[in-house]
């Protein structure tokens, strides 16, 4: 402690205290009013690095969540397309069973009408396999801008005879996590033209048999039975792909749930690291305010008293 205290010392002390307290007060005021404790790296260098890291994770999760939604929506379209194909095959199977009974098989007019129906189903199946719900092919693999299937050859009546696959053999996949992908657009030949069951061949063969007026008796019966087997095989082939896609959808849902939970945790972490602790900041702000007021009051008091007041 100094024995002599001069007014300059008092003034300098008051000024320094006011500066330091005002700076602190402004800092806490800013924290409270912005809700952000760390806005510049220097506010808390260690927390800043951590916040940046966690923020990047949060942004990442948001992006993965978005691709997950997009992938789910594509796969849902694919699954509903496959369900349509499934229905087409079931209808075709019913027609084949109907054709296979004795009364119908001997009635060419009825068979011709059924052949017409099957032709319609072929066109439907082709259209479903070529569907582009978002402007890109669902079943052309990574050749998403290509129409997946086209009629390669037609019969004398101009009806589709063979169907060619124009897409890619590689599926198109979406990134749903770090290094984690899901196939969204399958190669159509691996869906509709599997060795174990070819949708188009099964339908075309049924139509051809229905239209074949030379087929009679046991040969006809055998042909329809074969059609039924082919259609069943096609159904189970489509069923397998549907199962795969449904399983992918379930995975996507699980990953999405995980992402949502993670993002919540990460965002909470960001909030805790970055956000203002209002209780703490408000109390500190109040402290600084009180200290500053005390400084003002003492300054006022100090400069009030002096010998000058008493010399008249």
């Amino acid at each position: 402690m100094n024995i002599r205290v001069t007014s300059q010392m008092q003034a300098n002390d008051v000024i320094l205290n006011m500066q330091q307290q005002s700076a602190q007060l402004a800092k806490y005021q800013n924290e409270v009013s912005s809700g952000v404790r760390v806005s510049l790296p220097s506010d808390d260098p260690a927390a800043f690095a951590e916040i940046s890291h966690v923020q990047a994770s949060s942004d990442n999760l948001a992006a993965y969540s978005q691709t997950n939604n997009d992938a789910s929506s594509t796969l849902n379209s694919a699954v509903s397309a496959l369900t349509s194909v499934n229905n087409i095959l079931v209808q075709a199977k019913q027609l084949a069973e109907e054709a296979n009974n004795a009364t119908t098989s001997s009635n060419p007019t009825e068979l011709a009408a059924m052949a017409n129906q099957v032709n319609g189903l072929i066109t439907q199946a082709l259209s479903v396999a070529n569907s582009q719900p978002d402007g890109n092919s669902l079943f052309a693999g990574s050749a998403i801008t290509t129409t997946a299937f086209s009629v390669a050859t037609t019969n004398a009546a101009g009806q589709p005879e063979t169907i060619a696959y124009n897409g890619a053999t590689q599926a198109s996949s979406a990134l749903i996590g770090p290094g984690q992908t899901v196939n969204t657009r399958y190669a159509g030949n691996a869906v509709f033209q599997q060795a174990s069951g070819d949708v188009f061949k099964a339908l075309i063969s049924l139509r051809d048999n229905l239209q074949n007026t030379t087929l009679t008796g046991s040969a006809q019966n055998q042909a329809f039975t074969q059609n039924l087997t082919d259609l069943s095989n096609a159904l189970s082939a489509i069923g397998n792909v549907t199962a795969q896609q449904s399983s992918s959808l379930a995975t996507l849902q699980a990953v999405q749930n995980l992402n949502t939970n993670l993002k919540t945790t990460v965002d909470e972490q960001i909030g805790a690291l970055k956000g203002t602790d209002y209780a703490d900041a408000t109390v500190k702000m109040q402290e600084q305010q009180t200290a500053l007021q005390a400084t003002y009051a003492t300054a006022y008091q100090l400069f009030q008293t002096g010998l000058l007041n008493f010399i008249h």
Partner: protein, 561 residues
Amino acid sequence: MINAFTIGTSAILAGQTALNVIGQNIANAANPGYHLQTPNLVNSEAGNATPTGVDVASITRYTNDPVRTAILVANGAQGLLNSRLSIRQQIENTLGSGTGGIGDQLNSFFNQVTQLTTQPASTVARQPLVATASNLAQQINSAAGAIDNLRNELGQQITSNVAQLNTYASQIANLNDRIAAAEQQGTQPNDLLDQRDSLINSLSQMVDVKTVNQPDGVVNVLSSDAAIVTGNFANTFQAAPNAGGSFVVTQTGSTQPITFNSGSLSGQLQEYNTNIPATRSQLDNWTNQLIGNVNEVQATGLGLNGPLSSTTGTVSVSSATVPLNSANLPFPVQAGQLTVSVTDSSGNRTNTAIAINPATQSLQDIATALNGVTGLSASVTSGNQLQIQGQAGYTFDFAGRDTNPPGGGAVANPDTAGILSALGVNGFFSGSNASSIAVNPAIVADPGLLAGSKSGQPGDTTNLQKLAAIQNQQLVNGQTLSDNYANQAATVGSDVHSLTDQQTVQTNLVQSLNNQEQSVTGVDTNQELAQLLNYQRMIQGASEYMSTVNTALDSILNIIK
């Protein structure tokens, strides 16, 4: 009896001198460089024990030398902290680390790449991605530009501070001269001493200063490496950048660089010569990794338009005929091989592997090797860049697809040498550091050129996945690009944080030392007012005394009447 008038007069004269001193003290009560003065009264004697009144023997100027020395040292430390803190704070701002800053843009870029995997053929979805990349590049450019500007301005400040240092030195030398002359004449140059102390105080905030008192009132001012003022001679200093771009302070007539240990000038030199270049080179290195890694993925993929018909590298070598290792390439090249695929007009594709050895091969050698591939012409441009063109009907790529008709299968890594990114061939970014990074103008014009696939199919996202994976690779100092950038900003933030703390401590220390000095040398107005009353009474008393003596003399003279 006559002595009585002499005594009275001496008291009034001494009182007036004292009032002048008090007046001067009060007038300078708020002058920080002022030193308290008090009159020293002595009773004068004629030598024969007859009292002759009072004299002002001298006027004492109060000083506190040990504390002053400590203040000069503390000033230097404070000057150093102040200058460094202000510069670091500016750098913290230039790194744009907050929301929407470089770190955010980088994350946004990679996240948009991730999102593109669900609609890889969409040129509409590619546009915002390219826009984000351009924004990122521009922000990096402006951060680098801001750091460079800051350094240039700092250079100017250093020059002007050295000029100021010279001015202070010559003013101090001049005062030394005048003080010595005054002391020789026996007068007390208190005001000159105050002026000199004040100048030395200012000087001590700029460079480290030590004072040595000489017997004739002269003060020599020394810095750790050089004498600044010796007697009435002031050394002059100059600051100029050396060949390495560092600012060097030398004494006129000498080439020996001078180091200052503290003070604002020392802080500025430290930032200019060491810290700012270090911050800048971290940013450059980080940007270089970003460019190199993104470009390597881009170069070994295929865009929506498929193979290329021509491309020119964006990186120039210093000489096309020296081995690549000596050609000042901003990106590394290792020994390895480059597989180039050439497709003819009928869709037949052949793969050719070219061995790359940067220790022996020059850019010209690489061009010659590529030129030897059927369907390709390759050359070195006048700007020492690699130019590759497909001959009529031929296109080429580096995606490493299987040949057509199928042959040996796809090549997993078509560029094990890293030569494509090193030469900037078919890159996503052009440039090699923070000030030169930009998105390849061809990709800005046609975002379809962004190589999303390995197979050339629009829905193939393999290359996009590779691009997105860069985000999670530990590319700089064992950290991801995003973490490393945050770390750079946090390092500067940590500097600012610790400098702020040190500055607070140092400011309080300087304040406390100043108070300590003030307790001796400062003016206490109340004390002066009390003294004022004291001398007022003295003059009143002396006047009353003379009046009484006069009355007494009158009475005596009345006897004669």
